[in-house]
């Protein structure tokens, strides 16, 4: 078990929390390569090998994995909803369109409930936020080791597949919302916004510094709480997945591949291909059951058999824990996406209201 080895455990966690970074290494940085230490003559844009180099890059770096997954998921969102928009008719809607309309109806009613100004942008903004964040959070439900391990076999060293566990991503969105808040505050209230910052809560000129301080803190707290709430929740969820995966070096179900690759990672001598084959077989059995080819009882038996071959009863425990946490996490994922959306709407609504 990997848990018996503290060094590899720490390594495993750290590896999981390291983004794939592309950035600028400053001149004079001592780079550890296979051929020993190499001192960089000038600033170099390169992929970071390890946390030290990533840290040395400082601000001038970009998390390639976070950006790629975030943009990819955003494109999936756009493609899905655009397809629905193209197909949208006034006639009887089909299944997929029904689903999209369900989401849109839900967002529309939420916006109508909490946003009282007139702005054509708020509803689409809320839709984008909700679906996009939901999709980003959903990546959390993929087995923690699956994609990183596959990509590692393909030669990519680090991979964090849940963009919302990256504070850059969540704060980026929160700052976007903050910019909109400031814009509409100034646009709608004009001088009233300055008055709001200086004359509340104590309406007297002598209190202006205190008012300004309090209001500014309140204003700045909004984007920070917005971004960090999402980040914190997703980060903690991801950590628990990692910890469960680590506790059970082998797994079943969701944890099957997780645990299998885990075992591979820490040299338990299990072949990753073997685990993948078992995973595919289990998926096949489940699929056959869904298609009605084999009975549920037989499916359970076959799955259990495959899992027993695959990871043993202990592994099954790990898989069950992953399953349990994943099911609970579905709630967290949806809730966090929803909270981010609702708070955005509320903040923008406050920016539109003349009277405090």
């Amino acid at each position: 078990m990997s848990g018996e080895n503290p060094a590899s455990t720490t390594e495993y966690i750290q590896h999981h929390l390291q983004n794939l970074v592309y950035g600028k290494l400053p001149g004079g940085f001592e780079r550890q390569t296979e051929n020993g230490t190499e001192v960089l003559a000038a600033d170099t844009w390169t992929m970071a090998h390890g946390a030290t180099e990533a840290a040395a890059m400082g601000f001038w770096a970009i998390h390639v994995d976070s950006m790629a997954w975030s943009i990819g998921l955003g494109l999936i969102f756009c493609w899905m909803f655009r397809r629905a928009a193209v197909r949208a008719t006034t006639g009887v809607p089909s299944g997929f369109l029904n689903f999209v309309e369900l989401v849109i109806e839900f967002i529309d009613s939420t916006v109508k409930d909490s946003f009282h100004g007139k702005n054509k942008m708020v509803a689409p903004l809320a839709l984008t936020i909700f679906v996009w964040i939901f999709l980003m959070n959903l990546m959390d439900l993929l087995p923690v080791d699956l994609i990183p391990k596959v990509l590692m076999l393909a030669g990519v060293e680090y991979q964090k597949i849940v963009p919302s566990t990256d504070p850059n991503i969540t704060m980026g969105m929160a700052l976007g919302v903050f910019v909109l808040m400031l814009y509409y505050n100034i646009k709608i209230k004009g001088v009233g916004f300055i008055k709001e910052l200086t004359m509340h809560p104590f309406n007297h000129w002598a209190f202006i510094p205190i008012n300004l301080f309090m209001e500014l803190v309140g204003l700045l707290a909004k984007p920070f709480s917005l971004g960090l709430r999402l980040f914190g929740n997703m980060y903690a969820g991801e950590m628990i997945f990692i910890l469960i995966a680590m506790m059970f070096a082998a797994g079943a179900g969701t944890g099957l591949v997780t645990g299998g690759l885990n075992a591979q990672l820490f040299g338990e001598g299990t072949n990753a291909i073997f685990w993948l084959v078992i995973f595919v077989l289990v998926c096949g059995v489940c699929w056959m059951n869904l298609r009605g080819k084999i009975s549920t009882g037989r499916t359970v038996l076959l799955t259990l058999g495959l899992l027993t071959i695959g990871g043993g009863v202990f592994a099954l425990g790990g898989g069950l824990m992953q399953w349990g946490w994943a099911i609970f996490h579905i709630l967290v994922i949806t809730l966090q996406a929803f909270i981010f959306m609702v708070l955005t709407i509320v903040y923008l609504s406050m920016a539109h209201e003349e009277d405090h």
Binding site: V21, G23, A54, A55, M57, G58, F59, W60, A61, I62, H63, S66, M67, S70, I71, G74, F77, C78, F81, R82, A84, A85, V86, A88, T89, T90, G91, P93, V100, E101, I104, E105, D108, K120, M121, A123, P124, L125, L127, T128, W132, D166, P167, N168, I169, M171, G172, M173, L175, G176, V179
Partner: protein, 156 residues
């Protein structure tokens, strides 16, 4: 967990996706949905209206039926009355005609009787004369006289 360029990358991406959604997704779907809502509302309205129309038509039809029935009953009544009247009139006429005929017949009979009487009177005088002649001729044969008178009387 360091903040870096990704922050701004995400901000730009965010802006682009929101813009896309605002331009090409939201208005299209929401318009279609609202139009469909309107269509459904119109359809339901039309159905309601049709129901009301149907009810009104049914009411009207029932009224008309009732009216027609009443009218028909009136006509039948009138016809019956008229028929009775005609029968009554005919009866009356028949009776009058009968009476008239009877009176005429009686008058005729009276006339006939009178004429017969006249004739009889005329013949009686002759017969009496003839009888007297006979009596005088046969003298007095009581038996023969009686027989003659009887004969005479039977000729009356």
């Amino acid at each position: 967990m360091n903040i870096n360029l990704t922050l701004f990358g995400q901000m730009v991406t965010f802006a682009i996706f929101v813009w896309f959604c605002m331009k090409f997704v939201w208005p299209v779907i929401i318009t279609a949905m609202e139009e469909r809502q309107q269509k459904i509302a119109d359809g339901l309205d039309a159905a309601d209206r049709a129901m009301r129309d149907l009810e009104a038509a049914q009411d009207k039809a029932t009224d008309q039926m009732k009216e027609a029935k009443q009218e028909a009953a009136g006509i039948v009544d009138q016809a019956n009355k008229r028929a009775n009247q005609i029968v009554e009139e005919a009866k009356q006429q028949a009776i009058t005609e009968g009476d008239r005929l009877k009176v005429a017949a009686e008058a005729e009979i009276e006339q006939e009787i009178n004429r017969a009487k006249e004739e009889l009177r005329a013949s009686v005088a002759g017969l009496a004369l003839a009888g007297a002649e006979k009596v005088l001729e046969a003298s007095i044969d009581d038996k023969a006289n009686r027989a003659l008178v009887d004969n005479l009387a039977s000729q009356l």
